[in-house]
Symmetry: C2
Subunit: 343 residues, 2 copies
Amino acid sequence: MSEVAKLAGVAISTVSRALANPGRVNEKTHAKIDAAARQLGYPPNAMARGLRIGKSNTIMIVLPGSLYYGASQVIPQILQSINKALIQSGYNLMIANLDRGAGSERHILDLPFGGAVRGAIILSSKSPEVDGRSLASAGLPIVSMLLDMSDAGLPSVVTNDHEAVRDVTAELIGLGHKRFLYLARPEGSYHDVERFGGVLKALDAAGMPENAVVRSGGNLDYQQGFQIGLEAVKDFVELAEKPTAVIATSDDMAISFMSRVQGLGFRIPGDLSIVSFDGSPVCEFCSPPLSTIEQPVTEMGEAAVALLLTCIEGAETSIERRKVIPSKLILRESMARPRIEQE
Amino acid sequence: MSEVAKLAGVAISTVSRALANPGRVNEKTHAKIDAAARQLGYPPNAMARGLRIGKSNTIMIVLPGSLYYGASQVIPQILQSINKALIQSGYNLMIANLDRGAGSERHILDLPFGGAVRGAIILSSKSPEVDGRSLASAGLPIVSMLLDMSDAGLPSVVTNDHEAVRDVTAELIGLGHKRFLYLARPEGSYHDVERFGGVLKALDAAGMPENAVVRSGGNLDYQQGFQIGLEAVKDFVELAEKPTAVIATSDDMAISFMSRVQGLGFRIPGDLSIVSFDGSPVCEFCSPPLSTIEQPVTEMGEAAVALLLTCIEGAETSIERRKVIPSKLILRESMARPRIEQE
DNA sequence: TTGTATGCGTTATCAT
DNA sequence: ATGATAACGCATACAA
């Protein structure tokens, strides 16, 4: 910077002003400085700037390991939309994986406490915590995504999990289905509560009993979606009264379930209708093409960034605590009327 | 840090030494300093440290937009393995998307030139370049991954694209196949050259003519894998002499091709054998289960990190220019003998 | 082994 | 509107 100042014939502080505050410097000198900077190929030093102003321009995304598996595109799409939105506002994106073991938690916490990051987008219900330090205690703006953590004080961006599942269940009921198999996420998790609640709501609205739906997979703490689908097939074959519709809470579960259950001779959608959650592009090419509830992850990513930047840039106005972006049901051949009317 | 020094009753420089160079300080004082630091919850400031030593501890991964789509898990798996390996060595991972438009290129270049990153892992053949600045000219250690850029002077981590495709083609020939359809990546790209070269090599070795294989999809510059598969179906139906085997260069292409072509009444593997590339977990649940060449992306990520850190930490020894990690052919039902012997 | 002092590149405060 | 200067938090050369 001092070289730029020398070449432009001004003081170093003037250069700083010209490059940072576009308004506070004479137009002519500004032009001279710009020219000098370009000529010298002057690159502003991010760390010096960060040290001086006490703030970084890096945002951290906290991803649980469980999100990394499967055919859905949530991780790539989210990363892409978030990064794009951040760059437009002059921020960078840093990845923080929340794996098992204190090592990753410590690393995640070192980032904000070391002043390296300015804000965080978190996609996990459990926030890292070690040695009494937590993400929240770092005094860092945090936005939750996918999961509603607004009760814990975190602005959240979610989709309408409950209503979407309720609606598709109602749709299945309307088609004539009376017994359901529900492939669950870990029991008690946000998504499990919301989505299974949607099933129960629809049953209730139709005057059907809660035991019209059988759960599978929810007792497993952490695993691949494909595995849940395979386990669910075992549960399915043991059921005396076979469900005619399956509601899966991820495309992976649905895909492995469908594949295996077809191998056992069950016809889809003849014997069994299936609908799942996520909206992976690959669902279109399953046989039969799989109905799925598409999560608008791109929009959710953009909304999360917008919310986070609002927190960071400290708009006086009270920030939104919870933003819901509706999902979209994509109907395909895997859903139909049950072939055999029950009872 | 000064507070820690005061509490421990030592000078600030001693604290610095104790925390950075574990050897150069008395054991007793070290303990005192550690205690004081813990008591105060002292977090070292990453930016101040970076400014002082002139180096950052952040690594950048440059991802082309084209990698983001599809059912394969390359992006998540690579990110996970790279990040894990980096953390173990005390580095952080920053994402840089190489999208179309100069905006993203400029942003990518600002990172190294601004001193924000210490090294880069690049998964694209075209390195960003704007205003005469390029990634290479930033004087930054760079490692290429997936693509062999060792000719351009970049240490590279790749899989054995050529040999893997050659071998699987030979396997198909051994099964009795005589005509092939090849679903290509963008023509002339590294992967296209390597993999299609493998097909030709196998044909040659079997004394078969080059026109035993028909290419599809390579004329398209940039698009989703699924789309290539759909286009290929159009090409396929127009062929007078139908191939009996399809070699796809991504699972996405294979999945959409297989889905559509089955819809037209072709039987797999009866009428048509299919093998693809990537090793996505979802292939196991296709109907029929899809043979695929599994890219060892996790090991490749780890190797890329190891290579990059070698460059950074400047081992005197000459660094490896090209590391090949072999892929693994996963044979499933989509490959079989052709039902109808030709001619 | 430990303390003192300087500088990394930038921004902000205070003069001019 | 611009220039001089201090300070951000840390690491190191040097002195003790």
